[in-house]
């Protein structure tokens, strides 16, 4: 590719986050660090799960928010990573760290295959194509009983000794989540990320400006798959079990809903969305067996009253207030 990417970069977007944002980030980080002191054992494992799914939701946000392509197959990419980690450690007896590396690699490669097939399309066709590709992965996992254990799934060998404790494991996951989040943030605010946003706004204009749009889409998809792979590998250690339900459509849908609930294109919305949905699942199911209905209703309400998502809505409100004052 001969296009010099930097040339199109307006200076404002390269600017470091403002002081106010930095202060807020520090507060959030301190809160995350202090969380285990406040919560009993089980809630900490919920918090861990939220972190893992936030990474998955961010990976979706890279595509949905920054190149305007909404994928419905990320559950499959995520789950393939989980499958590889557990197969490597439990069935082949390999080391967990190598397994996680292989899981992330497998997810990245799968994302590359998905990308080659899907980047030609956009809008609802992209949605359907990624959905179909995800279903293929699900079908393969379900049917190849010899490797994946079919419907029964694969059972892991347990976490390594120093991660068995919920609090230790939470900190370990936090230790991965923070740098991953920072890298994604850098990625979407890089010149490359700017091009991605350009593609989201107008593909034809970017093309006429001389950008290699398919290549950018491809790379964005692969990067997104890489991140989903990280989430999947972490989930393998967390859940210690994998079955076709991990790669099935509902996984893709719930991760996408997390991204949408938090706010597409806000990146940090992924954390808010994952927190909202996982907490809702856990709290509502204490009170009623009809918790999926409550969840559904909540989504409908969010779509009507805050289609920009929670963080998106908050930003709009904040901006309005600032303009007024």
């Amino acid at each position: 590719m001969s296009t010099p990417l930097v040339s199109a970069l307006p200076p404002v977007d390269r600017a470091a986050p403002t002081k106010r944002v930095l202060v807020w980030l520090c507060i959030v980080l301190a809160a995350l660090l202090a969380l285990p002191l406040l919560l009993p054992g089980y809630q900490i494992s919920i918090a861990t799960q939220i972190l893992i799914f936030s990474i998955l939701a961010m990976s979706i946000d890279i595509l949905a928010g920054f190149v305007g392509r909404t994928p419905l197959g990320h559950g499959a990419i995520f789950g393939v990573s989980t499958y590889v980690v557990i197969y490597w450690t439990a069935s082949l007896g390999g080391s967990l760290w190598v397994g996680m590396g292989l899981g992330i690699l497998a997810a990245t490669l799968l994302a590359a295959v998905f990308a080659l097939l899907a980047i030609r399309t956009s809008g609802v066709y992209f949605l359907l194509l990624t959905l179909a590709l995800g279903m293929i992965v699900w079908g393969v996992c379900l049917r190849s009983t010899g490797i994946t254990g079919g419907e029964n799934g694969l059972r892991g060998i347990g976490r390594p000794g120093f991660l068995v404790d919920h609090v230790h494991f939470y900190y370990a996951i936090l230790l991965v989540t923070v740098p991953v989040t920072w890298i994604i943030w850098r990625f979407v605010h890089s010149p490359f990320g700017l091009t991605m946003r350009g593609i989201r706004e107008s593909e034809s204009r970017m093309r006429s400006l001389g950008y290699n749009v398919p290549l950018h889409l491809f790379l964005a998809f692969v990067a997104s798959g890489f991140v989903a792979g990280i989430a999947g590998a972490l989930y393998a250690v967390f859940n210690d079990f994998v079955s076709p339900s991990t790669v099935q459509l509902s996984q893709s849908v719930s991760a996408l809903l997390m991204a949408i609930t938090g706010g597409v294109g806000t990146l940090f919305g992924a954390f808010v969305g994952a927190t909202a949905i996982i907490l809702l699942e856990n709290v509502v199911s204490v009170f009623t067996a009809r918790w999926p209905s409550v969840l559904g209703l909540t989504f409908v309400l969010i779509m009507i009253f805050a289609p920009e998502g929670i963080v998106g809505r908050a930003r709009i409100l904040l901006a309005k207030r600032r303009r007024r004052s």
Binding site: S45, T145, N152, T246, A289
Partner: protein, 419 residues
């Protein structure tokens, strides 16, 4: 209702409520209740079965006043949503937040396997009256996972194969759902049948939720087999039986089935098309045994239907564990003692009507009924025993150690003896 009457009733109820609370608190002071976590699929694809799990389970505890070994029993029901990831999450919540003394339940094999893997790490007692995955009480045995009231998938299809050979059937074809539970139930039949001199002409595997069985029935009808063995569950079973009749196979080729094929959950809404199908199980709701009939009557009176596999196995499982708790005087906190006692406990008087005990691997040894579907006096269809195989263990007539060396059943390995 006028205002005065409303006030009267409300104050009465409040007074009653507080005194009930007070007495509950007193009881708690004596000894804390035994907390049991029940995981059941109340939503998702098998929600109907999940409801019956709760019915059967709570019916038993109600029958003994929710009290055992001098302690109160508290049951906490959680919905596993027919999904292994949710099941795992709920199991974690019950154990880590709810501090339950034991877990019970789950319906789908994958949900049970996920929870079993979780309790493997923390030693929480877990009883699985429905989860039939062979590995859990064989090669992949976990000491604190016990199949109280349940069975391994291949356990009952073996006596059925033996019975089929005795009927003079020489050639059989199988049709089965294409997943592990199906591979295992079918494998038990295929292995015993071929080792006994029979021949499996064809094995058909169809995906779960097949709506049209005509391609499969077409192949089966022209084979010239003596009988067809069908491994089906739920709606698939109902559709297969229906279409078996529609295509005119009923009455021409005898239909045999694994336990679930003619479970009450399938045949309670069906008519004459299910009549005459032969299956095998540890329970036959139409058995002329006093304990069985007393249970069926009580359950039908309470819930308006004849109990299914899900209901009776959880009733039996609860009864079994309750007997063990009684033996150790409610000391379930001593897990080692509790688990050992459960394994040593025999159950002579359960609704199964025959005494049962555990083998060395935590799986029950049953008298297995060969059952036929017939119409009862109320015009409903149910399973009535036509033959009994006493003391059938999960290993049939094999030596456990030798048996566990063979590969797990799958599409590719059905234990079929080559000739």
């Amino acid at each position: 209702m006028d205002r005065r009457r409303f006030l009267e009733i409300t104050s009465l109820m409040l007074a009653g409520g507080t005194s009930a609370l007070a007495s509950a608190r007193e009881a708690q002071a004596e000894s804390a209740p035994i907390r049991i976590g029940l995981l059941a699929p109340l939503t998702g694809v098998v929600a109907a079965g999940g409801k019956e799990i709760v019915n059967g389970f709570t019916m038993f505890w109600d029958s003994i006043g929710n009290q055992v070994g001098g302690r109160k029993v508290e049951i906490i029901v959680e919905d596993d949503a027919s999904n292994p990831d949710t099941a795992l999450q709920k199991a974690r919540r019950l154990v880590e937040q709810g501090k339950v003394d034991m877990l019970f339940g789950n319906l789908l094999a994958n949900t049970g396997l996920a929870v079993a893997n979780y309790v493997k790490g923390n030693g929480e007692p877990y009883f699985i009256p429905v989860i039939a995955a062979d590995t859990l009480t064989q090669g992949g045995r976990i000491p604190n996972v016990i199949r109280a009231g349940g069975y391994t998938a291949s356990q009952f299809s073996r006596p059925l194969a033996d019975w089929a050979l005795k009927q003079g059937y020489k050639k059989v074809a199988t049709v089965s759902q294409d997943y592990t539970f199906g591979h295992e139930q079918c494998g038990g039949f295929a292995q015993t049948f071929t080792e006994g001199g029979g021949e499996i002409l064809l094995q058909l595997w169809h995906p779960l939720n097949t709506s049209d069985f005509s391609p499969y029935l077409g192949q089966l009808s022209s084979l010239g087999v003596d009988a067809i063995f069908a491994m089906e569950t739920g709606a698939d079973s109902a559709r297969l039986i229906q279409q078996y009749t529609n295509f005119g196979l009923k009455g021409q080729i005898p239909l045999l089935g694994a336990q679930n094929a003619t479970d009450q959950s399938v045949i309670r809404t069906m008519g004459a098309e299910c009549e005459g199908i032969v299956t095998s199980a540890q329970f036959a709701e139409g058995a002329d045994l006093p304990a069985t009939q007393a249970f069926v009557k009580a359950y039908s009176a309470k819930f308006g239907k004849i109990p299914s596999l899900y209901a009776f196995s959880h009733y039996v499982g609860a009864m079994w564990v309750a007997k063990a708790i009684e033996t150790i005087g409610g000391k379930v906190d001593d897990r080692k003692l509790f688990l050992e006692t459960v394994l040593k406990t025999d159950l002579p008087n359960s609704p199964l009507g025959k005494p049962v005990h555990f083998d060395a691997y935590g799986n029950p040894v049953y008298d297995v009924f060969i059952r036929k579907v017939v119409k009862n006096a109320d015009g409903k269809y149910w399973n009535v025993p036509v033959d009994t195989y006493p003391q059938v263990s999960q290993f049939w007539k094999y030596d456990p150690a030798t048996y566990m060396k063979q590969p797990a059943y799958s599409r590719d390995f059905q234990g079929i003896k080559k000739r």
